[in-house]
């Protein structure tokens, strides 16, 4: 596995646990008053599991496993690292904005960072989705 994939997958596993922890506490609070009602963090729970866990894992695995260019290279690594950073910055910004009662602008900024990250990843991965010998 390349270094970027290792970082993305490890962070995806961390996000899975954080997302499950928030989800578990929210579900527990529906069944018991002993659990803290963390409904304000529901958006972060969703963001961690959809973007942090699923999307990050899928992009990390795609970067690792799609056919490489001649010479075994995976393309310029700089943009891919930048996209990975943007994705994580975006998910936390979009995830915490509702809990902070932050302006819609913050939520929009988070979503834009996520979208830009996926655009860069897609641009990187697009030419590598190809047939054998092409």
């Amino acid at each position: 596995m390349p270094r970027l994939t290792r970082w993305a997958l490890r962070l995806a596993l961390v996000d899975l646990m954080l997302g499950f922890t928030l989800g578990g506490l929210i579900l527990c609070s529906k069944g018991s008053e002993a659990c803290p009602p963390l409904w304000s963090l529901r958006a972060l729970h969703i963001e961690l599991l959809t973007v942090g866990w699923m999307a990050q894992l899928a992009l990390g695995v795609a970067y690792w496993i799609l056919p490489r260019y001649a010479g075994g290279v995976r393309g310029a690594s700089g943009p891919a690292w930048a996209a990975w950073g943007l994705l994580n910055l975006g998910l936390w910004t979009a995830g915490v904005a509702p809990a902070l009662s932050a302006p819609t602008l913050l939520l929009a900024a988070g979503r834009m960072a996520e979208a830009l990250a996926v655009l860069v990843f897609a641009t990187q991965l697009w030419p590598r989705a190809k047939g054998f010998g092409t």
């Binding site: 596995m1 997958l9 899975l16 527990c28 659990c35 894992l57």
Partner: protein, 134 residues
């Protein structure tokens, strides 16, 4: 494909079918039935039962070997994750509607939350050493 990976993948397909069937049922059931109790069950059947479980199964099958002696890490941990994840989902599928009918649902939901959290932990602990370089 190892036996446990087949269980994960086949069970994920069952949850996908259940999630879609529940989506249809929400339209067909009497309108006085509290849909709010079934919507979270449907969403989690889809996102946890289908997508996350499919990922668990494919990761268990295809990620790099942990070691020559134990290529897929601990089979007991992987089996525990499978049992806890599905047990937790079933408990939630029972508990949420019970709560909607003012029947005692607390223990079901708290147990469900704990089981799914432990399933995530077992998966992460078993997968972490398999995220590694060449």
């Amino acid at each position: 494909m190892p036996t446990l990976a087949r269980w994960y993948i086949k069970t994920s397909l069952v949850w996908l079918l259940l999630a879609l069937a529940l989506g249809v049922a929400l339209f067909l059931l009497p309108s006085d039935l509290p849909a709010a109790a079934l919507v979270p069950v449907q969403i989690h059947a889809f996102v946890v039962g289908w997508i996350t479980q499919l990922i668990f199964g494919v990761v268990y099958w295809m990620f790099p070997k942990a070691s020559l002696e134990r290529p897929r890490g601990s089979p007991s941990l992987a089996l525990a994750a499978y049992v806890l994840l599905n047990g937790g989902l079933v408990l939630r599928a029972v508990g949420e509607p019970l709560g909607a009918f003012d029947l005692p649902s607390g223990p079901w939901l708290v147990a469900s939350a704990a089981m799914q959290w432990l399933a995530g932990l077992a998966f992460v602990v078993n997968t972490w050493p398999r995220v590694k370089g060449p």
